[in-house]
Symmetry: none
DNA sequence: ACCAAAATGGAATATTTGTTCCACGCACAG
DNA sequence: CTGTGCGTGGAACAAATATTCCATTTTGGT
């Protein structure tokens, strides 16, 4: 009955991170064999997902049963549960993605498959750049403006149009009032904007004069303007209150919009989430 | 004794690449169930490393024994050998880029930055999956159809609309005759389609009835239909002559479209390039 | 319409792998 | 020196999984 040993009862780590923490925590106050397990797994945690108990045990220089005990000390029901944790945390692109990409690129010059590889690569780089260069404070500010808006007006032409079109769809699904200004109607769009609204404008070089004009209109009326653009010193920057920048790596003359859409989508979902609270 | 069937003896693929080649090689001249296996594995080769026979079989919609036969047809002794191949090709360890993402994700629950991280991750995974599962022959076929078309008709609604909207923009820039059928005009769209044209339709689950109807119309008239969808056995597959599949990893209820746009863009550029020659 | 060959699905079996259990040994306290 | 308790290792057990086999269905040719 009087349980509660010093190592507490049994909270099984729910993430790889939590697993590492727990590992560091118990390390040093373990029996000899279990310490061997801890040391080995700390060093080779990447093998957990694919190896069997026997392989781990051999690697650590202990019998399989020691590995089992170790898993249970950490709070898992057994090795299977630990392995599940690591398998689910694995990236889905399992086989050698890099070599596959290289092979595709190496194909016939201008072949469709080679093009796909290029665009995939460009998209991936764009996404990574987004993650690295993201300004959390600016993002926070943008969400704040959008969350308090009565109606969110969406503006974007040419290559930006798909982005705002998707935003319009997503906002509708999320039950957020949004209006898409896609056509040539700078005039009608202006008429639709009311105090309390916000304009979310997406534009990249070369900046469409029409989009810039719409942003100017919003500013004239006194509406906050949130801009999604490619450079901090773009023409939009002077017109916008909040400027989110996305550097999209392009291949040839075209961009895959991956990072732009990812950011736009995040904006939309974050906005909807904040409204519900 | 006198073995040597027409499909030669048994050279088991020694690399992931060789496996893909062999897959494309035998595809099309296989019995129904085995073809299902081939299709499924071509699209989800990333699951081979971690799944069990039963899971693969369920995913492909065939009994486990069919999967076993398929493995043997490819030259493997069984599924275990195939799985070994894919496991050995797996990347080791978790990329440090993942830790950067993990930090962002670890932020306040539902914080905008965390959302960005999720969408970036989903987009990146989708792109990798696209590169890995791309069927070069199908892609080639699609480009072939599009390149010889008089006019390319574009159809896609809801979440697919941004994709076709972008395609319309890109085709215009590339000087390729394309027409976007976005509105409700199933009738007007039908009237616009002429012999020699091609319909490029983009649709994901849940498949819009309108889009499917348009594809059916094109087929009735005798136009080739190229489909960009999420599953090989989607309703579109029966209506389309060429089916390109993209598995987009989604976060929450929304998708970043990264892979879809990358593939669409590649199609457009490749089509334009082929026309000029 | 019939037959032969191929394909199919599911049940039976083999194998691999995870998990539990218990006899033994070692250390330490009395 | 001896008893108690924890740690240990291997063997027995259980579960999951791969693989084979064969009765039945389907296919393709004449």
């Amino acid at each position: 009955m009087s349980e509660v040993p010093t190592t507490t009862a049994a909270p099984p780590p729910a993430s790889v991170e939590a697993f590492r923490d727990r590992l560091a925590q118990v390390s040093g106050q373990l029996p000899r064999r279990l310490q061997q397990c801890a040391d080995y797994l700390a060093e080779h945690s990447d093998r957990i997902a694919l190896s069997t108990v026997a392989q781990i045990a051999k690697g650590a220089g202990v019998p399989p049963s020691a590995v089992m005990r170790f898993c249970q000390v950490l709070g898992f029901s057994g090795f299977a549960e630990l392995q599940r944790l690591f398998r689910s945390a694995m990236p889905v692109g399992l086989p050698d993605y890099a070599t596959r990409l290289a092979n595709l690129k190496a194909g016939p010059r201008g072949a469709p498959a080679a093009l796909v590889a290029e665009f995939v690569d460009a998209g991936r780089q764009s996404l990574e750049a987004l993650a690295l260069n993201l300004s959390e404070t600016t993002l926070e500010q943008a969400v704040g403006r959008l969350a308090t808006a009565r109606v969110i007006h969406l503006a974007g032409l040419r290559r930006s149009f798909p982005v705002v079109a998707y935003l319009a769809y997503v906002f509708e699904k999320l039950d957020v009032a949004a209006q898409l200004h896609a056509g040539t109607g700078g005039v009608s769009a202006r008429a639709a904007m009311r105090p309390g609204d916000v304009l979310l404008v997406v534009s990249f070089a070369p900046y469409s004069a029409e989009t810039l004009a719409l942003a100017q209109s919003a500013r004239d009326i006194g509406l906050p303007v949130v801009a999604l653009t490619d450079r901090r010193d773009s023409p939009l920057s002077r017109l916008a209150d909040t400027v989110l920048t996305v550097t999209e790596v392009d291949f040839g003359a075209f961009r895959s919009l991956s990072a732009t859409i990812a950011l736009a989508l995040s904006l939309a979902v974050a906005t909807a989430a904040r409204r519900e609270t």
